[in-house]
């Protein structure tokens, strides 16, 4: 009964039904949803009606005499055929209409000129790679102070998509399973390491706007902090946005490879931003970590964890007698660059040399560590070279 009342709503204030769909497939899904929900509501009303009538009428207190032979009549003998046939009819209605939508939804068009976006899930951020435009965007949640009422539904860099364009999404993961879900686009697809799965969408021409979703597959500690924000813009604006990104990337690359020697203050400033963005989810803004999963970065802090975590730290010189110590710089660079296999510490190879130099410098001087160490672009370049040489062997 309550469901029937719902059928009238689309998007009420509190959101009790799907938000307005903005792609043809999302609209198809919405119709299937409304159809099955209406059928469910009608059947529920029928069941409630019959049971309520029976509860009222067929009770001992009203002197009703039980019909001991009801199951022996024709209905008793044939209901096992009648009921399944009726249910089958309902099933066929639902399956039939779902099947039609399913094909459109499932079979990704093979057009050559489709735009392609590779969506990679990471613990706990999304990476969007525009394969044709050669632009990469990292998208992370924005802390409450900045996001306000949009907290957990707001990111620093949205997934910018053109409207009225066939887009193929390729889904994969760099670590554990995630799931990409934006209700208004109308699909959800798991991101699984080792798999590349595809989905597609065309955002309606007149539906420029911001559409929000979240990671839907439990992916560890900060599963709740993996929002997805899609910003749909006109194809013209999208082209402009791509150009802007390319300029930005070129500028960053030029700066990073200029070979300039950076001052400690500049590196610290750069490092703080990068640390807060990339590292603080686990190691926290104050560097205290979340033991035992995520070690503190503060020298002298007590830390104990299972062997798969504590042993590599000891080997690298970062844990001694149950306390965190600051090991040698090259090892520090190695941990950030290559991660610690078998733990949640991932490799950050994808960052450029300057960024890693800034992060290591920051970590060695922030949180009262004050080692005075300054790590430069060239140190990282060397470390990467050693890696490549090791890999070649």
């Amino acid at each position: 009964m309550m469901l029937l009342g719902l059928a009238g709503f689309t998007q009420a204030e509190y959101g009790i039904n799907f938000p307005e769909p903005v792609t043809p497939s999302a609209r198809d899904i919405y119709h299937i949803h409304m159809l099955t929900m209406t059928i469910a509501a009608v059947l529920l009303v029928i069941v409630f009606g019959i049971v309520s009538y029976s509860l009222y009428t067929h009770r001992k207190s009203r002197g009703y005499v039980p019909d001991q032979n009801m199951h022996k009549g024709w209905f008793g003998r044939w209901s096992w055929v009648v009921i399944p046939v009726l249910v089958l009819g309902v099933d066929m209605t639902i399956a039939g209409s779902a099947e039609k939508v399913l094909e459109r939804l499932w079979l990704v068009p093979k057009d050559k000129d489709m735009m392609e976006v590779k969506v990679t899930g990471h613990q706990w951020w999304w990476e969007y790679e525009y394969l044709d435009q050669e632009v990469k965007v990292e998208s992370r949640f924005v802390p409450q102070e900045k996001a306000g009422d949009l907290y957990l539904l707001e990111v620093d860099n949205p997934l910018v998509l053109p409207t009225n364009t066939k887009i193929r999404f390729l889904h994969t993961s760099a670590d554990v399973n995630h799931s990409f879900w934006v209700p208004q686009l109308g699909f959800k697809k798991d991101a699984i390491a080792g798999y590349i799965t595809e989905t597609w969408a065309v955002i309606d021409k007149d539906k420029e706007g911001v559409y929000r979703g979240q990671c839907a597959e439990l992916c560890g500690t900060w599963h709740a902090r993996m929002p997805i924000v899609v910003q749909a813009v006109s194809p013209e604006k999208f082209t402009a946005w791509v150009a802007e990104q390319k300029t930005r990337i070129a500028a960053a690359a030029a700066e990073a490879s200029s070979g300039k020697v950076w001052s400690k203050d500049d590196l610290m400033e750069k490092g703080r931003n990068l640390y807060n963005k990339n590292c603080a989810a686990c190691h926290q803004l104050d560097g205290k970590g979340l033991p035992p999963a995520f070690p503190p970065l503060v020298a002298g802090a007590a830390f104990s964890a299972a062997e798969n975590m504590s042993k590599p730290l000891e080997e690298r010189g970062f844990l001694k007698d149950g306390k965190i110590v600051l090991g040698p710089v090259p090892k520090h660079v190695d941990i950030v660059l290559n991660g610690i296999p078998g733990t949640t510490m991932q490799a950050w190879k994808q960052l450029d040399n300057l960024e890693i130099a800034a992060i290591v410098t920051y970590e060695r001087n922030a949180f009262n560590n004050n080692t005075g160490d300054v790590v430069q672009f060239a140190d990282i370049e060397k470390a990467r070279g050693a890696n490549a040489a090791a890999a070649a062997r």
Binding site: P84, I94, N177, F187, Y195, L218
Partner: protein, 532 residues
């Protein structure tokens, strides 16, 4: 049906009732082991229930107030495992132990020593599970299990040693369940009183027979899956590691090949209990005995063939999702028939509404609702949206609380007078029923809206737009939780004393178990009753 006499058997004359702790530790008596199962399940019910209270307290408001994110994920995981394996399954096993021999006129379970063993394996598993939860709090204990009860790798490979204890827990539970299932199958097939053919057997026994076969079929693949996980974690194999040529999705298939039939393992015994309660309080035989048995067999068989509907979003082929969609939707046929038969049993009966019957009516209505949202979820296009959202959480709590848990509560009130020889307090029973119904619906009905509006499941924190319904849901959960203190009080009170019921207890009751005194003597049916 009539029985000759309840002659005390040779055994009881020789040995008498064992006393003290030996009576329980070494017990081979189906009634005592049944009681043990029920006590353990009650403890686990409170443990798992307390976890859900913490979860709902954390989700009462946006923001992280009470729980570290990983502890929250850990509670989500163990809430499921404890209630599924620790509360519902043992309670059903306890009722099966108590009632099956009495219903089929057998002196005991066919394999009494194995019965003892399967119970104590369960206790060992429960201890192991508690160890798994405690170990992360000890120095060097590693991280907590934060994967949800599905234990999907690669996340489950990242977890500390807590996961290893959990894997061994699953092994022990598997052994326990398989032993108990073998025992029930052997008992039902071999120990029925002369004249009780399979098609005269009470439905509760049928439901357990099917459940037992399901358990024997599904536990081994699951045990295999978690063993492969253990190997991946420690011995360098790559069953589920794509980088080593393995397949993370393989685990999902192994898990759900177990996990989906498991739903029917939880459901069927409770549906069997309803087939006794509804005729009793409608004073009219069960409508469609044969079709109910057929429907239960069909549910069990079809339930084995639809597991991947939990995985529509992993990127299966069109052919695969189409098959799983249609097969899943078709399950509505036997389930619908079963519910129809129960309603038809009430129809033109002379109903009274004691607590067990109130629960039965509540179950029919709420389980129908859970079943209907199940059909919505079965459609692939719809599920692509609903999957892993709160809509799913709402759906399976309607299906499992109404379909499984409340059936066990109904059975508790129905049989408690028989087990203890004391009537429970009817007024308190009814208050408990209404608290449960109000609490349950208040908790889970708004969650449908949350899911549709876009709230994913298993999140420790959420956007402010989801606040109102989460608050309502939490308030409902606290009512639901509080009602269980009353439940405990009712049970303790009934065990300690109360009006003495007759052998039949209920006016409309029929069946061998109601020909025995309340409480039944330690050994019953040592001479098989004659079935007309």
């Amino acid at each position: 049906m009539s029985i000759a006499t309840i002659a005390p058997g040779h055994e009881s004359e020789h040995r008498g009732t064992p006393q003290g702790w030996r009576r329980w530790l070494f017990s081979t008596n189906h009634k005592d082991i049944g009681t043990l199962y029920l006590v353990v399940s009650l403890i686990m019910l409170f443990l798992g229930g307390a976890m859900s209270m913490l979860i709902r307290a954390e989700l009462f408001m946006p923001g992280i107030q009470l729980l570290e994110p990983d502890f929250f994920n850990n509670l989500v995981t163990n809430h499921a495992l404890i209630l599924v394996f620790g509360a519902v399954m043992p309670a059903a096993a306890g009722m099966g132990n108590w009632m099956i021999p009495m219903m089929i006129g057998a002196p005991d379970m066919a394999l009494p020593r194995m019965n003892n063993m399967s119970f104590w394996f369960l206790v060992a598993a429960a201890v192991m599970l508690v160890v798994s939860m405690t170990v992360p709090f000890l120095p060097g204990g590693g991280t907590m299990v934060n994967t949800g009860w599905t234990l999907y790798p690669p996340l489950s490979v990242q977890v500390g040693m807590s996961m290893d204890f959990l894997i061994f827990t699953v092994h022990l539970l598997g052994i326990s369940s398989i032993l108990a299932s073998i025992n029930i199958i052997v008992t039902i097939l071999n120990c029925r009183a002369p004249g009780m053919t399979l098609m005269k057997m009470p439905i509760f026994c049928w439901s357990w027979l099917i459940t037992a076969f399901l358990l024997i079929l599904i536990m081994p693949p699951f045990a295999g899956g978690v063993t492969m996980l253990l190997f991946d974690r420690h011995f360098g194999t790559s069953f589920f590691n794509a980088a080593g040529g393995g397949d993370p999705v393989l685990f999902q298939h192994l898990f759900w090949f177990f996990g989906h039939p498991e739903v029917y393992v939880l459901l069927l015994p409770s549906m069997g209990i309803l087939a006794h309660i509804i005729p009793t309080f409608s004073r009219k035989p069960l409508f469609g005995y044969h079709s109910t048995v057929g429907a239960m067999v069909a549910v069990g068989a079809m339930g084995m063939l639809v597991w991947a509907h939990h995985q529509y979003t992993i990127g299966m082929s069109l052919a695969a999702v189409t098959y799983f969609m249609i097969a899943t939707i078709l399950i509505s046929i036997p389930v619908g028939l079963m519910v129809f038969n129960y309603i038809a049993t009430m129809w033109r009966g002379a109903m009274t509404f004691e607590t067990p019957m109130l629960f039965a009516v509540g179950i029919i209505l709420m389980f129908s609702f859970g079943g209907l949202t199940g059909v919505m979820l079965a459609t692939v296009p719809g599920d692509i949206q609903y999957h892993d959202s709160y809509f799913v959480v709402a759906h399976f709590h309607y299906a499992l609380i109404a379909g499984a848990l409340l059936g066990l509560y109904a059975g508790t009130f129905f049989w408690l007078p028989k087990w203890t020889g004391h009537m429970y307090d009817e007024k308190l029973g009814k208050i408990f029923f209404w608290m449960v119904i109000i609490g349950h619906n208040l908790t889970f009905f708004p969650q449908h809206f949350l899911g549709l509006a876009g709230m994913p499941r298993r999140v420790v924190d959420y956007n402010v737009m989801f606040t109102e319904f989460n608050m309502i849901s939490s308030i409902g959960a606290f009512i639901f939780g509080a009602s269980h203190l009353l439940f405990l009080y009712i049970i303790v009170k009934t065990v300690r004393g109360g009006a003495k019921p007759s052998e039949k207890v209920w006016e409309g009751a029929s069946g061998l178990e109601w020909t025995l005194p309340s409480p039944p003597p330690f050994h019953t049916f040592t001479t098989p009753p004659a079935i007309k």
